[in-house]
Symmetry: C3
Subunit: 352 residues, 3 copies
């Protein structure tokens, strides 16, 4: 049951209003009221949920939810239905509408350490133990959590949220409405060394910076390196999962999403609206076209054209079966030779 406290805290919406807000068509009672979004199995009266998997669609009548978001016409049910083209999108919107807390400025902690020439916007939420260097500019309604360190000459846009223990190196540009999760490092030196005459590695000074445009979200413990010259760029709306590496001078296009543990070598250029699955990696200076999809663990060694879907890994199977296959994998050149020889022989017979 929803507690009284929850009831008071939560927004309340009629289905009529909700349908409009999430761009769905209502089949049912326009005046019914919902207060929470919940997964199918835990939704009760007062909740909205969604069903797309056949297993859930078969159980619509069992649901105690006040309303269910579905993709299209379904067999007659008693429940209120909200028909949306993309039920998951509609549900995401319903969650936001019902649960997203409106921003309340927490103020600026007295404990803030801030360098000369930095300027701070209005209505901030600066938690204790934040450090800001010299000449940096923060917009309005910025949230900085404990342990955030911002270097010199940085720009942080309005409504951006930076979680604890994030490090932003000097000269970084962060847009508005950006979310950066804990432990992430933005602007460390790109990895660029040349061996000298004695084999010692000589560092190429990294003089560029990082630009993270508006509406990006960056997961926990990522590392986004500054450019050698110029900029490493995350364009508007890029979303990164956790533990992602973005090498120097890489550019990720608008609305591209990248799953956890993927890495981009220096100078990679990824188009807009791409989907990069987990643990993928790119060679240096690779170009990936708009809307391309890179499968999990892929090693992208050549350019990928727009809209292409590429992959390249061995899915896990029975250990012994895999061992047998991989031993033979290295004998493939020999296997092909034997096959060719046989083909020739059989052909000669044919002719004879």
């Amino acid at each position: 049951m929803i507690s009284l406290w929850e009831t008071l805290c939560l927004a309340m919406h009629t289905l009529n209003h909700l349908a409009e807000a999430i761009k769905a068509e209502l089949i049912g009672d326009p005046d019914a009221v919902v207060r929470r979004a919940q997964p199918f199995d835990t939704a009760i009266e007062g909740d909205i949920t969604f069903a797309t998997a056949p297993a859930y669609l078969a159980r619509l009548n069992e649901s105690r939810a006040t309303a269910i978001i579905v993709a299209g016409a379904v067999a007659r049910v008693d429940t209120n239905l909200l028909v949306a083209k993309d039920p998951k999108l509609a549900f995401a919107r319903a969650i936001n509408l019902l649960h997203a807390a409106s921003y309340q400025p927490a103020g600026v902690s007295e404990d803030l350490i801030v360098g000369e020439g930095s300027s701070l916007g209005e209505d901030l939420s600066i938690h204790p133990r934040v450090t800001i260097g010299r000449g940096s500019v923060l917009g309005d309604r910025v949230t900085l959590h404990a342990g955030v360190v911002i270097g010199n000459n940085c720009r942080i846009g309005d409504d951006t949220i930076i979680y604890p223990n994030v490090t932003i190196y000097d000269d970084t540009r962060i847009g508005s409405r950006v979310i950066i999760h804990a432990g992430t490092v933005i602007g460390a030196d790109g990895f660029s060394f040349v061996p000298d005459e004695e084999g010692h590695q000589t560092k190429l000074l990294q003089m560029g910076r990082v630009r993270v445009e508006d509406d990006c979200e960056i997961g926990a413990n990522c590392a986004i390196d500054r450019a050698g010259f110029g900029e490493t760029i995350l364009r508007r709306g890029v979303k990164l999962d956790n533990l992602i590496q973005v090498g120097h001078n890489t550019v990720l296009g608008e609305d591209t999403v990248v799953a956890a543990m993927s890495g981009f070598s220096g100078g990679t250029r990824v188009g807009r609206g791409c989907v990069i699955a987990g643990q993928a990696g790119t060679a240096q200076h690779i170009e990936i076209g708009d809307g391309a999809i890179i499968a999990a663990k892929a090693a992208v060694m050549k350019n990928v054209r727009a809209g292409a879907m590429v992959g390249g890994m061995i899915p896990a199977r029975d250990y012994n079966a895999w061992r047998r296959s991989q031993v033979l994998y290295f004998r493939l050149p020999e296997i092909v030779e034997r096959l060719k020889r046989l083909e020739k022989l059989v052909e000669q017979k044919e002719r004879a």
Copy 2:
């Protein structure tokens, strides 16, 4: 030689007592005394060591150690022997007995920042520069190192140790005797976006939390995401190495161990007592049964049944050999076609 200072600091045990404590059978002098555990090659008088590899077993007589843990009967040697079913386990116990420092509360630093309504247990070790939010509850004998940030409404159990610069987001549940290494992030948002009509990514608000049960250990710079709804769970005794990703709503079973750089996509369910080797990854909603073993770098794309051992990667070989094989790898469909054609031809000949 063991210094006087070390001698004074270290626990001292007779072999008699030690044998009992580590569940081994003593062959030798029950009153001999050991003070340190050491690897085979550096062990001297006063030390206990262990030998399982044949190379070491062949050199038992060379050892200057006071006692050696072995797996079973060995040729007559002068050294004291401790025979244990699992010598490595017995050695682990000996190290703990001889070297584990007993807990000494360091007290609570005056520098602690703690929010309203939080409560702290007894005999704590809270180092400077720790930040705790509102409504959080710490048990007894908790150690928090510098730079630890704990959010609102968290629970931290007794005897738990959290190393520097760890971030614990709001609402996280951490059990007793848990160890969390530096830089790890627990409770950041799960990675969950749906593209809208214009291709912009809409965030699914992550309203769940993370639960880490008793006796877990989590390595450095890991990222364990909160659930969308409900809980991401590490069950009792889970051990994670460094740089591991645990996606939203994943559940890792009791006593499961995960090597470095492995990642679990959202909704993965791993059974108890599983072993996940390094750099492995799972697709979303995969189920891995109890006691399964996942080899290094495996891409787990299908459910794995209990007790199974699965793998799927190409071990490194000579670069040119590998290049030849991988070119042919993509010609495998053609190779199989040619083979089939040949088989048919030969068969026809046979019949003719």
Copy 3:
């Protein structure tokens, strides 16, 4: 155009002097002056740049740079040329000469927390919010950024720079001129557990430490574990990219470079001057000889001899092509069987 301010800030060198400093041969005006190093496309008057790719070499005359570093004789051009054996190395040196700021001690923040018995060198740059334990020793001209936590009994050599939110555990040895990027963790426990009689994991106490020798550079959010006994070692001049795992007791040889997201299991021994590409991994106790090259994503399961180049992954290709190949990959044992049978049949025919 270079601004007046930039002009005043920058070092200024005649080509004569520069040629000597970067070990190049000058073809052109010895008294011409350069102030900046820039990439080919953005270089203007007063800049030095370099050209090695044919695309750039074909456009030498288009460049507005005052001087261009090239590898050898080129067609007659108007521009001043600096001929160097390794133009990239010469350019790296030019960047350093023109742009590297000389060290200016920023002093020791009053906010420093330092334990008993620790000693600090001269001319330090200790930013606020740094924490140092007991009995640690810092050399001269060390830079510690905000949020750095250094444990007890550590040694940090002269001229070392540690970026924000880095954690150094007790007993760590860091050499001189080392650079450690933000979020990295050095000295956390090695991952070493043995299951006991009930399947619970027993921890092997990690009693060793980490030694990072002179001139190493370590990227952001790496994890370098202490040894079980003895030392985990990065030898002089090792360069690590971001998000790298170095397991307990691993030794990386002098001048070895490791690209992002690679991981070394416990006890790996890597020689000097090796190149490890991104997302590679090694099995436990692997030895990699001097000068070996490990390709991206390689799974090193066997020792690699000095100078060898090894690889082992499936480069990304068209998704459907890859799917077809990987299905057949697991049928390789059967394919080889069919091939063998055919060979035998054809041979019999031949003889008949």
